[in-house]
Symmetry: C2
Subunit: 143 residues, 2 copies
DNA sequence: CGGTATCCCACATGATACTG
DNA sequence: CAGTATCATGTGGGATACCG
């Protein structure tokens, strides 16, 4: 990314902050709220993994548990409820024996999916550089 | 978003999951790692707000504290160190009295900024719908 | 001014056991 | 199969005081 891009990015962001009296910018309350809102949604340990798994189509509770290594029943249930409450996923239970329950992304959830995958892509693009810089920092700092 | 978009989104994401034997997809370890990595970076309470504030240009420690309502000195220092270690921001201290320290986004940080702002924009676009759905869920569930 | 050091706690998550 | 209920715990983060 060149200097010009950096300038453009700053200009774009500057539209999101408010000039307050004096030399210092401050977050508009609502913008900070939006950031907090989306972080509450996907900032936890499991939401994004669940959303990503559901991208493959409707899937049952037990298959979600299999697809997401390390998740506990408790956290799977809790996170699913959270996502359902927010309208990101739908829960459909079929009155059969044995019981069957399927979860699926809503359109809202799908629209969020693309955005968080962009974040994951950023991580994939830069994780090598990140590791290099962390190692350098630790070397300079720790010894 | 229409059905066609939804299908496309699913197709895009399906490239990120691995077909395992049997009917169920599972996260590739490295993809889950990328998600965890970026969540560790920006999933906390203050990182994104700091990054967004720095978008306005280099800024001093005390001005950061003013620009981000509610942050404690401890968390400001801690989060700045974290972001610096990852290479998202630079710290420059000027040997004057009184001391002056400025923080600025690196190009890496700026590239992340655009992506997290997309998330904030998603939140801004959908927060009304989200609130509606949460209220409906609570009504249906709670009473 | 720009931090550290220390104490403290709420809460997110995990483990385990039980149920319709 | 698809959950609940209960207990245990690690830690993210706030408050406060102090330091170069």
């Amino acid at each position: 990314m060149g200097t010009e891009d950096l300038r453009r990015a700053r200009t774009n962001v500057r539209a999101n902050v408010r000039r307050v009296p004096g030399p210092c910018a401050q977050w508009k309350d609502e913008d900070a709220d939006f950031i907090r809102e989306v972080l509450d949604l996907v900032g936890d340990k499991w939401s994004v993994l669940i959303i990503g798994t559901l991208a493959d189509g409707p899937i049952r509770y037990s298959h979600l548990a299999d697809a997401i290594p390390g998740i506990s029943q408790r956290m799977l249930t809790l996170t699913l409820k959270h996502l359902q409450r927010t309208g990101l996923i739908n829960r459909t239970s079929y009155p059969e024996v044995p019981p069957r329950v399927e979860y699926a992304l809503t359109e809202l959830g799908t629209s969020l999916l693309s955005t968080v995958l962009a974040l994951a892509a950023w991580s994939a693009d830069h994780h090598a550089e990140i590791r290099r810089r962390q190692a350098a920092y630790d070397r300079d700092t720790g010894g």
